[in-house]
Amino acid sequence: MARRASVTRTATITVVAWLAGFVVFFPILWMVLTSFKTELEAFSMPPKFLLFKWTTENYAVVQERSDYLAHVWNSVAIAFGSVLVSMLIAIPAAWAMAFAPTERTRGTLLWMLSTKMMPPVGVLVPIYLIYRDLGLLDTRLGLIALLCLGNLPIVVWMLYTYFKEIPQGILEASRMDGIGPVREVIFVLAPMALPGIASTILLNVILAWNEAFWTLNLTTSKAAPLTAFIASYSSPEGLFWAKLSAASTLAIAPILVLGWLSQRQLVRGLTFGAVK
């Protein structure tokens, strides 16, 4: 009796979990499906789920109309560039906050986080003007700097949390071994905090990759990443759902692959220290 009840329970939970998973995944699935429809079928009511005329025409058009690879390169440069720079700043910062805290460390961390509470649009005009005067509009360098600064609070917070889990005694042991601060971070701290550092990098690559507000507002063509590539399909000439979907599918594909390959590392890092 008890066993039957537990089988029913397991079955129910499984079905509910699959349903929830499907609901979450549905928008992405729908986008991919739409990208293989004709523009007419993309609009059809009632919507067609699988029984439509499959076509890859949208991908051809998208490729023809805009240079996908140039946008990919911009996205890669901006996402990885900004994460690299922010890691170079954040690792020493988090190291100092975790292992040599002062009375103001807590306050500094909260203050850093508070900058994320302000809507970006609030500083759009000043930043736009500064960027214009500095000649940073539509440059990869400008976006790398901005996204780096924008994500820095999250990067420092995440690393700080992971570093706090490392026993301080081990770092002190390395000091007693005659090792200076730079090599202490590289040879002792970094290898021990690797899961945390890896998931911080991954999460921030994803955040930077998908960042749309600044990348759309501060670029026109030269430095435009994949977000601008997608946006170019919702244009004044009208919405092209199928082509927009094709462009979006192309835009998320690289990051989806990266996320898929690193999902174990990502989950391990995000739950790092939760169970000891």
């Binding site: 081990i170 042991a173 007693m176 071994d177 005659g178 200076g180 040879f187 002792v188």
Partner: protein, 338 residues
């Protein structure tokens, strides 16, 4: 070489002063043990010498050079931590050789030294393991290996045996003593365990509330404690303290008699008392005796005594080994009792 000299060392955390001022001389090659109750500042003092904490004032002179403002990495000392603090991502070989490797020593020299040290510490078979695959005693030996391989000016030990079980603790204690004698390297060792202090030290520094209460050889502290604190801290079971009339008769505010310096008999001379409890250990018997005008006296009798709770006994303190203290708790040295 490694002589360490502390001059007016002070340490405060915020507005809390942990060490109000310590002066101490540690000669080259000696084994010095800091001992005291928890929170007495002994570990802090060690960490100040190590450079893991910054001093609030005073000078730390190692081999004639003030190192108080140098970082830990540049003081040329090595340390064994209570938690061992091994590098979890490195093998035993890398753990021991890490400091040498980082110092840029040639690879064959590092290998030779690591091999020699692991030979001494019986670690040769474990060199390719990670710390997670070792037992507590083995980890402790790796930590010691890491400390000695660099041939430092001095070893610092921070309660290194407190995470080991009793049997292993005795064995490691002997190993540390033997190792220190053969290397003749200056050693500062922190413990709250007075047995470790008595057995290992050339010189014991008794600390209390950040102050040095007394410095001396183990037996010196036992036979002539400078004050009530040291008298009560060194020796087990604890020294008996008696004040009031019985002390006044000897011209002191408080007198102290160790349990082993108390002659117990059924009808001899001395104070009259009643046995409250008796612990028979075979070789010794510890008696807890209610004596009027005292808080109770502990006495140690050698061998098996047929005493049981409720029995009346006489207690005769050995007059030559009775310690007298004045109102400030300082020992009164003059022996001539009026």
């Amino acid at each position: 070489m490694g002589s360490i000299r502390l001059e007016g060392i002070r340490k405060a955390f915020g507005s809390t002063t942990v060490i109000p001022g310590v002066d101490l001389d540690i000669e080259d090659g000696t084994f010095v043990v800091f001992v005291g109750p928890s929170g007495c500042g002994k570990s802090t003092l060690l960490r100040l010498i190590a450079g893991l904490e910054d001093v609030s004032g005073g000078r730390i002179i190692i081999d004639g050079k003030d190192v108080a403002s140098l970082p830990a990495a540049k003081r040329g000392l090595s340390m064994v931590f209570q938690s061992y603090a091994l590098y979890p991502h490195m093998t035993v070989r890398s753990n021991i050789g890490f400091g040498l490797k980082m110092a840029g020593r040639p690879r064959d020299e590092v290998k030779r030294k690591v091999d020699a040290v692991s030979e001494v510490l019986n670690l040769s078979a474990l060199l390719d393991r990670k710390p997670g695959e070792l037992s507590g005693g083995q980890r402790q030996r790796v930590a010691i290996g890491r400390a000695i391989v660099r041939e430092p000016k001095a070893f610092l030990f921070d309660e290194p045996l407190s995470n080991l079980d009793a049997a292993l603790r005795v064995q490691m204690r002997l190993e540390i003593a033997r190792l220190q004698k053969s290397l003749a390297t200056t050693t500062v060792y922190v413990t709250h365990d007075q047995v470790e202090a008595m057995t290992l030290a050339d010189k014991i520094v008794v600390l209390n509330a950040g102050r040095v209460e007394q410095v001396g050889a183990p037996l010196e502290l036992y036979t002539s404690p400078a004050n009530l604190f040291v008298a009560g801290f060194i020796g087990s079971p604890r020294m008996n303290f008696v004040s009031g009339d019985l002390a006044a008769q000897l011209g002191a505010t408080t007198i102290g008699i160790r349990p082993e310096h108390m002659l117990v008999s059924r009808d001899g001379p001395g104070w009259r008392g009643t046995v409250a409890a008796a612990e028979h250990l075979g070789s010794d018997t510890f008696l807890y005796i209610d004596v009027p005008k005292t808080d109770g006296i502990t006495a140690r009798a050698v061998g098996e005594l047929g005493l049981k709770p409720g029995d009346d006994v006489r207690l005769a303190p050995d007059p030559a080994r009775t310690h007298r203290f004045d109102a400030q708790g300082h020992a009164v040295r003059a022996r001539n009792v009026s």
